[in-house]
Symmetry: C2
Subunit: 336 residues, 2 copies
């Protein structure tokens, strides 16, 4: 496939220009462009440049408020609350992380609840930023409906991503876990449908609750959680942490991240940051050294996050390879 | 099977008497007996009276320090740290929960790290106590080695339970999620081995990393995590939260909860308690009402924790049915 090569800085400039041309403020456009390009560089294309078009069209229609300025309050000593103003998620996340780091250091643990927000993208990247500041991080959020309550048939819960990151000693990049609680991403089923291919019967059930290999039937049904009842329970946990505890929309209330029109998705995200010093009696670094050594002793074992780090390094050196069609689509958005 | 019926109070008295006869202090014996009987009443037999024998023999040998008095420190405003003194877990957990409730209310979120501890039993019951006090709770802990690092073959990580609980409005009992990250409990494989039965090939892999239906081969190999790589990553997350962040033993360092002799298992447990008011702008109760109504609208959907609640109600009314053999085994421990 022919492609265009852009440096990360060039890609960020292009995406920011597109978002500004569609009504976003400079600040929101820069924060959002940085997050999308970082996801693309990390090999997370589903949260990368493929989102530029829907983001820009939603800013144009007002479904996302491109000029929102996130507002931070401190309702308790160890809690910050950020109102994203129905704008893009990333400016609110930047503000939350900036406040979480000193608060977690001062209190030992701190929480940030973001509400009135939007798609929060590559969740592991947010957790990683907290871990790069020496904190252990948990991030939870729901997404528009895709999975049933366990036992049910109607799509209600999101695929419900969570991320975890922990600093590693000796200057290594943090260990980062980033996953959704569905067996497969919805995008993979859409791709199979387009390619006229079957899907594994573990990915989804049809509208009658029966496993299916037909992507069209799967898209009319619900995505399967990992591990049956256990993953279903974990998805409910993430729904409560990400939506109920932030006062965000539940999966069945949230509007699409892709459709240009309609009311705002109104998502919540929850961040927990822990200073490992007080919790562990300052033993955390030594314990993580033991853990990392045990994992590295087995060549078949990979430290989570390392694949993304390798992709990032390559993209930093060589730039991004952007498919021609995607690049052209993004450029047409420069003249709304 | 013939059985003995004891009221919950009678069962607690018997278990406490056994533990005291084997060297536990009165305080440790009462706290431990209460937790084991509560697990039995909730239908969690694996964390109930079946543990009395190993607990008593470990107290007798000194593998668990039956007279340990847990010590609480406050290394940061929102953090409590409890040294269980290589004693039973429950006295330390009682102390941690007692301190967590006011600390979480004052700070908005609070953390308790317990170390030098032992088997922490029915994890959901601990989270439930925090939720009964109006808090959202997360509890993490590892267990002695049973699962491989994802990609590896040697048992390293525990089955790694986690629990989550959230208060429900209108006087309903809390929603409680309590699960381990292995597909099946090790005890189920041991039971199949004893019964000379095959196991599903999704439960475990043999020492070569191949799926097996032979329980003996499975016990020589490792338990499978739910959801493949995703569950493997979550198990690693729980290992870091439960052990590295508390300065507890990793799964491969911990000694058996069952063998009477040897050095102490030295486990850690991590508790996070969140006051939902500040995080949610006081919207949490209303959001949980919407969620509970959506779940109850579908008769096929069950609120997690409700099955245990029903078992508890029955046991409270009718007492516990204890198999004769188990009752006799427990009574022999009265005269060490």
């Amino acid at each position: 496939m022919p492609d265009v090569r852009l440096s990360l800085a060039q890609a960020e400039d292009l995406v920011a220009e597109v978002l500004e041309a569609n009504g976003a403020s400079r600040a929101a456009a820069r924060a959002t462009a940085a997050a999308l390009v970082a996801a693309e560089a990390d090999g997370q294309a589903a949260h990368g440049l493929s989102r530029v078009s829907s983001y820009a069209l939603q800013a144009r229609s007002g479904k996302v408020n491109g000029t929102a300025v996130p507002v931070l309050t401190r309702p308790a000593p160890a809690v910050v609350r950020v109102d994203a103003g129905l704008g893009f998620a990333y400016p609110a996340i930047d503000l939350a992380i900036e406040a979480l780091v000193p608060t977690a250091r001062a209190q030992g643990i701190a929480l940030a609840a973001i509400h009135h927000s939007h798609h929060f993208g590559q969740v592991g990247a947010h957790a990683e930023r907290l871990a790069a500041a020496g904190l252990v991080a948990l991030v939870f959020g729901n997404t528009p409906k895709a999975m049933a309550f366990y036992g049910g048939r109607a799509p209600m819960l999101g695929t419900n991503p969570l991320a975890f990151a922990a600093p590693l000693p000796q200057g290594d990049a943090p260990l980062v876990i980033d996953l959704a609680l569905s067996v497969a991403a919805r995008g993979k089923i859409v791709a199979a449908q387009k390619a006229n291919k079957k899907i594994p019967d573990s990915w989804a059930v049809d509208a009658e609750g029966q496993p299916t290999t037909d992507p069209t039937a799967a898209l009319a049904g619900t995505l399967a959680p990992i591990g049956g009842a256990k993953g279903g329970a974990l998805a409910l946990m993430v729904e409560i942490l990400g939506a109920a505890l932030t006062a965000g929309a539940f999966g069945w209330e949230a509007t699409s991240f892709f459709e240009p029109q309609g009311k705002a998705p109104d998502m919540g995200h929850l961040f927990i940051a822990i200073d490992p010093g007080p919790a562990s009696g300052n033993a955390f670094g030594a314990r993580m050294t033991v853990l990392a050594e045990a994992m590295r002793a087995d060549p078949a074992v990979r430290l989570p996050g390392s694949r993304r780090l390798a992709a990032r390094q390559l993209a930093t050196q060589q730039g991004l390879h952007i498919p021609d069609a995607l690049h052209a689509e993004i450029r047409t958005l420069l003249q709304p």
